[in-house]
Subunit: 387 residues, 2 copies
Amino acid sequence: MSAHATSRPKRLVILGSTGSIGRQTLEVVCGLRERFQVIGLSAGANATLLEEQAREFRPRMVWSGSEGERTALAAASGADWATLEEQAAHPDADLVVVGTVGSAGLMPTLAALRAGKSVVLANKEVLVMAGALVTQAAKQGGGELLPVDSEHSAVWQCLWGEEGSAVRRIILTASGGAFRDYSAEDLARVTPEDALNHPTWEMGRKITVDSATLVNKGFEAIEARWLFDVPLDRIDVVLHRESIVHSLVEFVDGSVKAQLGEPDMKLPIRVALCYPERVAEERESRFDLVRTGALHFEPPDMRRFPALGLALKAGRLGGTYPAVLAAADEAAVGHFLAGHLRFSDISILLDEALSAHRAAADTDVEAVLAADAWARAYADDWVQTKV
Amino acid sequence: MSAHATSRPKRLVILGSTGSIGRQTLEVVCGLRERFQVIGLSAGANATLLEEQAREFRPRMVWSGSEGERTALAAASGADWATLEEQAAHPDADLVVVGTVGSAGLMPTLAALRAGKSVVLANKEVLVMAGALVTQAAKQGGGELLPVDSEHSAVWQCLWGEEGSAVRRIILTASGGAFRDYSAEDLARVTPEDALNHPTWEMGRKITVDSATLVNKGFEAIEARWLFDVPLDRIDVVLHRESIVHSLVEFVDGSVKAQLGEPDMKLPIRVALCYPERVAEERESRFDLVRTGALHFEPPDMRRFPALGLALKAGRLGGTYPAVLAAADEAAVGHFLAGHLRFSDISILLDEALSAHRAAADTDVEAVLAADAWARAYADDWVQTKV
């Protein structure tokens, strides 16, 4: 391991650096300055924070969704302006952290993998939309997909030293989200503020709402299907309130492995960035099973949270259906957060979008992007006409 | 993995074949006849069962503690008479299962490891008595130690694909044994029958009593220290009533892995026999977190169960102290099962034996065997004079 420690720092490109994953990635990097050098930063919004980050980390490349910030950013950091795709495929990049949200990460992820980069993938919609294309790009380009979602990081760690053919079943745990104890009636009345109040995890706004509908767990099942090449019918979901057991793998001999830890995204980020090393976290161990006392497991309630079942259905249908699911959900969550849609309407919208969709013959990038655009338009129209 | 499946069967020697581990090993082998060939069987007692086993598995070598059975065994199986050590070191043996109890396994284990055999070690006193010698023999002979205790199998599986230097802490789980909910007063009155009524595991008599005193968990901490080269002060014990989480490993980056499963010794036996493959268990999966519902974790009560603390103390003292602990315990449990000793006297006897012991300068095999003999004599004497 000393070979790693003494080699040159890994050069990081962070797409979506002002989002929850981007900020936490930079926090992790701060504690490991000798190991990582940030060469690219980008953000869709929040130009002020991006400028601060650029000043601190002195990347070579920046990009902001606010084109007007271009001059200020260049002045702050001396960095060149480079699009997400340019940054992702840059010859000097070793590791590309895709911390964008929604469909924004798809093309940069494909660009990075085609260029043979290792991709730390936090943008879950990328694999949901285009899992076949993304895993194919990784195979062809020689790049590696490193999961950073706590659930997939858990599965991944449980698979270290194991043969893929030894996997019988993946068991994804779900906290249950903000409304796990709400009745169907209560669910009809919840506000965006209620939905953003997650019981165990601090995350971005969109994913926090997705956790509350449980569609997020369906996304994760689809992601797991692609990341670990395990069919959806061998991926189960179990409700686990404490968010301590991050997921489990059952092997063909009946043995089960789990990965555990306090709910803190910085752990899976650290694991992915440092892979294949485990780098010491100096802080005193906080993991304490005795203090936790008990870990609970329940079946998810597919009736109160129909979006989970819809997501799994889209995953089983395959083709462009998962892209429709992801795009319709992104639009629906936007409308919900803007106050244009009730919480319980999100799953109704998803259901109707999936029913209305006609899949393309081929599932190439064009078809995926067309399905994405169709679903967004469908969702916007749905909100205007039905609500 | 197909290379393994098509290669010749592994040749097994099973020492202690009529005990709990021996019988369960043969059950596992029965389901995997194309993978294993039993070439040696032996048992200290229960000549009738040994004869049955010899008839069924047709080993080349047998040995029975009842010398008078020699002719009958030879007639039943056509096998040659060979001592435990001869069987363990036999040139044709690939894998030696040490399923003996107490100190009986030490010399055969050393013989097997020196001959470069892989040893499936269920006889925990072997590592407790002579961990340094045994691990040294493995290193010198090139043999491998494969754990089969559920706890050590769990730790071992969690370490597949990990660097030894990445381990921060081992967390051994304990069911708490038959008396986990007994008060100190109740403990003074329990009978051997009470002690043999383990809440979650079916095991041999001696280990079931050792579980009730919790000395077993101290033995396991000492074993783990040797098997995984982790100092005792980084091995913790946590009470876990359900016996579903078999043990955990915390890594330096804060990540924790656990191995889980129904409490069934056949799983770790299967894992050790088939290593490095995982061989499919055809029966429907029985692992069901939702049915289990909750997993509980508590600190062990060192006051009600002082034998655990005594065992850890012996482990920290090192040298011949752990051999004294193991031998005094074996004698004490024998006296308790025979009705000569109260349950609460077991730990008093262990405490006084450890205090009375004067460690030898060197911890070679002779010193270990001398400490073992001294402790047995001390225990017998203690029972005669103090009870």
